[in-house]
């Protein structure tokens, strides 16, 4: 008794029309203030109804509107602007260092500055972030010494990681910044473990996990959601949807889902889509998720809609696979411009102060770079001693490494 046969089967192979993408590649753009703010303990089913909406606070005129508008005074906002501008200037300086041949590799976060900067300020300094390589904003907004970051990037004698890691793979336990792995997604489930540990100990610290939308296809993403859902771990699960994973557009990882927020609902984890280029929205959504975690209400997933404005890394040439004018056509604008306009609208900012801040920030970065550069770089041969590579493989040097070190030195 065989059942009917069908037509020839076909596969949908995503083939986004690169170079001639539609004008608005980002679907479901809510107006600022449109989306309501759920209670912290609102039923996940009801929150799920908003999974195609977008938490937005800043409108096109620079006003902060709607229930998500966080209570941040002008000082805080100016601090946020400064954080973001510092990150951007930092990136620009190190890209220049790359062009100057001082470093072998760099990854910028151009256009995505609001997300890490605002979340860092919305959380506590003793919380732990498990970042990817595009959250330098966490360190900068967290007050980590910029010279030290540059020393890491230059792999010079003052690099705290002793030249072991690629540029941008920072680590700072003290600043709540988990050591970056080159292997995508591994940190996501580790963050859940850290949050579980905090809760097992009756501590108050929460964890924040970071991942790119492309890397959410990795298996560790699943493990993280399973454990977060089962144990209701106090963790924020960030997905930075910057539209690209090297050369593949975000729909390769998203598949048929409407949004990455959907992934959370597969586990009854409340999930919000948030305008990642809106400093106020980022702050408010991060705060909401953190409060949920702190109130023992479990994990929250946050999809940040943003755009990778630059190349994937200095090894990448995006002209081959993406339209030149994508950033111009991106409907969510630039995070720095938008916060600056808001500050101006509320009378807390003007062009002069902007110019002064830019000068200050650029000087800060220039000075920092000058200092870091004075310690040399891997290219100039000013690194930690090569024999330090044997340290920290284990807590204490085992005999075979002692022998190998001797052999290397001899």
């Amino acid at each position: 008794m065989d059942n009917p046969i069908g037509p020839a089967l076909q596969l949908r192979i995503p083939e986004p029309a690169r170079g001639h993408r539609p004008a608005d590649p980002v679907p479901y753009i809510s107006a600022a203030g449109e989306m309501r703010k759920p209670d912290l303990d609102e039923k996940v089913e009801r929150i799920a109804l908003m999974r195609k909406q977008l938490v937005r606070v800043l409108d096109d005129d620079g006003r902060a509107v709607g229930p998500w508008s966080p209570e941040l005074d002008a000082d805080h906002l100016r601090q946020g602007l400064r954080d973001m501008m510092t990150v951007r200037s930092f990136d620009a300086r190190l890209l220049r260092a790359h062009r100057q041949g001082k470093i072998s590799f760099y990854m910028q976060c151009l256009g995505e500055e609001a997300i890490a900067c605002a979340q860092r300020r919305a959380l506590r300094s003793d919380d732990m972030h498990f970042p990817t390589y595009r959250q330098q904003g966490l360190l900068i907004a967290g007050g980590y010494p910029i010279v030290t970051m540059m020393n890491q990037v230059l792999s010079n004698e003052h690099d705290p990681l002793k030249g072991r890691q690629l540029p941008v793979m920072y680590s700072s336990k003290e600043h709540g910044f988990f050591s970056i792995s080159g292997n995508l997604a591994t940190q996501y489930v580790q963050a859940v473990g850290w949050a579980m540990a905090s809760a097992l100990r009756g501590d108050t610290k929460i964890a924040s996990a970071w991942i790119g939308e492309g890397a959410s296809a990795e298996s560790d993403f699943h493990a993280a959601l399973v454990f977060a859902s089962t144990y209701q771990a106090p963790v924020i699960l960030n997905i930075v949807n910057n539209q690209w994973a090297i050369s593949t557009p975000e729909d390769f990882a998203r598949g048929a889902s409407a949004t990455f927020a959907d992934r959370g609902y597969g586990f009854s984890i409340p999930a919000l889509r948030v305008d990642g280029n809106d400093y106020l929205a980022v702050y408010a959504a991060s705060q909401w998720a953190a409060e949920r975690a702190r109130a023992n209400l479990g994990p929250t997933l946050l999809e940040w809609v943003t755009l990778r404005v630059g190349a994937h890394s200095t090894s990448d040439d995006p002209s081959v696979y993406r339209p030149d004018d994508e950033a111009d056509r991106f409907p969510l604008g630039d995070p720095i411009d938008r916060l600056r306009r808001h500050l101006t609208v509320i009378g807390a900012w003007d062009d002069e102060r902007q110019a002064a801040l830019q000068t200050e920030v650029d000087a800060l970065i220039a000075d920092a770079f000058a200092e870091a550069d004075s310690h040399g770089s891997v290219k100039s041969g000013h690194t930690s001693s090569p024999s330090t590579m044997f340290d920290d493989v284990y807590a204490t040097l085992p005999r075979h490494l002692v022998e190998q070190r001797e052999r290397m030195e001899g």
């Binding site: 990681l161 050591s179 580790q190 850290w194 097992l200 560790d220 493990a223 399973v226 085992p398 005999r399």
Partner: protein, 337 residues
């Protein structure tokens, strides 16, 4: 001293570790309420509460991944992988994360975790309940790898592993959980209560990682082995009448090179025995090391007796398993080479 099975010794080590240090947490599949499919964690949840010992979803990647995160927080997780054959989904978290975290962060974050797993065949488990994957860990810098062969060692080594500040892969040959199996599968099982290494002191003690144990002194040939095969080698020595010095390596990385080299220099002959497949097994490293360091003392090539380079078969497991006859034959060959 009470007699314990290896299972009881492992349980006891867990309990003592959890008692002494409240950062020790124990979890894995069926590990909590049920106490583990081999019962190695039985009673821990009842005694220490479900915040110290708990069940997990079936996700080895998740188990090790959250353990790395917990270790970074400051806990000392000791996790169970239900069978070593199922460790591969966690391999990335072990190799890329646990093993390198201290190094890549220059000591800023560390991963003091213990990953226990039953290994080896001899229970008709077929290809997915029989593997001995130690060589897949010994190649990875940053990991320590332990294989136990008896209750006394199991307790002391597990306590040392849990207290160690680095990630430790802790392999438990399931065929010796209940007795010192010598490879004669057709004979009655000898329980640990009839073996001196089944006598396990109460309370806390550790056996330092990196120290081999001379299981049997001898002058004819040095046998380097670990796990179940220690007992098989013992039987082979007795049955062949060859005065083999049997070294139970206990820790594969870091390796106790001194004990090995001293013995081989004395006997001039060396046999390497393990259950894992031959090619690129840990025996290769042992063979290479021995001939590098005792070349001029060797009277015969270092010879390996290992599992064949096939998947572990179900029905033919006794043809696969390097039993006492095969080991004895190899001993004779090495003696006459």
């Amino acid at each position: 001293m009470p007699a314990m099975t290896m299972i009881e010794a492992i349980r006891d080590a867990h309990a003592i570790a959890m008692e002494r240090d409240d950062t020790v947490v124990v979890f894995g599949e069926d590990v909590g309420y049920f106490g583990g499919v081999f019962r190695c964690t039985h009673g821990l949840q009842e005694r220490f509460g479900s915040h110290r010992c708990f069940d997990t979803p079936i996700s080895e990647a998740g188990i090790v991944g959250v353990a790395v995160g917990m270790a970074a927080y400051g806990l000392r997780p000791c996790v169970e992988i239900q069978f070593a054959d199922y460790v591969y989904p966690a391999y990335d978290q072990i190799v890329s994360e646990a093993a390198r975290l201290r190094h890549r962060s220059a000591g800023d974050f560390t991963a003091p975790l213990t990953i226990r797993m039953p290994t080896g065949g001899g229970i008709f488990g077929g290809q997915t309940h029989s593997q001995s994957p130690e060589a897949l860990f010994t190649h990875v810098a940053g990991l320590k790898t332990v294989v136990v062969s008896n209750p006394y060692d199991a307790k002391g080594l597990l306590l040392a592993a849990i207290e160690d500040d680095d990630p430790v892969i802790f392999l438990e040959p399931k065929r010796v959980y209940n007795g010192p199996f010598d490879g004669h599968h057709d004979r009655p099982i000898v329980p640990w209560s009839q073996h001196p290494l089944g006598e396990v002191p109460e309370g806390h003690y550790t056996i330092p990682l990196g120290q081999a144990r001379v299981h049997r002194g001898g002058d004819d040939v040095t046998v380097l082995t670990y796990g179940t095969l220690v007992h098989v080698a013992q039987a082979a020595a007795e049955e062949s009448g060859i005065d083999a010095e049997i070294i139970d390596l206990r820790t594969l990385v870091p390796l106790d090179v001194d004990t090995i080299v001293a013995s081989v220099r004395r006997t001039g002959r060396c046999l390497v025995v393990h259950e894992a497949t031959l090619t690129s097994g840990f025996g290769a490293e042992l063979s290479a090391t021995v001939q590098e360091r005792a070349f001029h003392h060797l009277e015969a090539p270092v010879t390996r007796v290992c599992g064949w380079d096939t998947p572990y078969p179900h029905a033919h497991e006794w043809s696969y398993f390097p039993g006492p006859d095969r080991v004895a034959r190899a001993m004779r060959e090495v003696m006459s080479a």
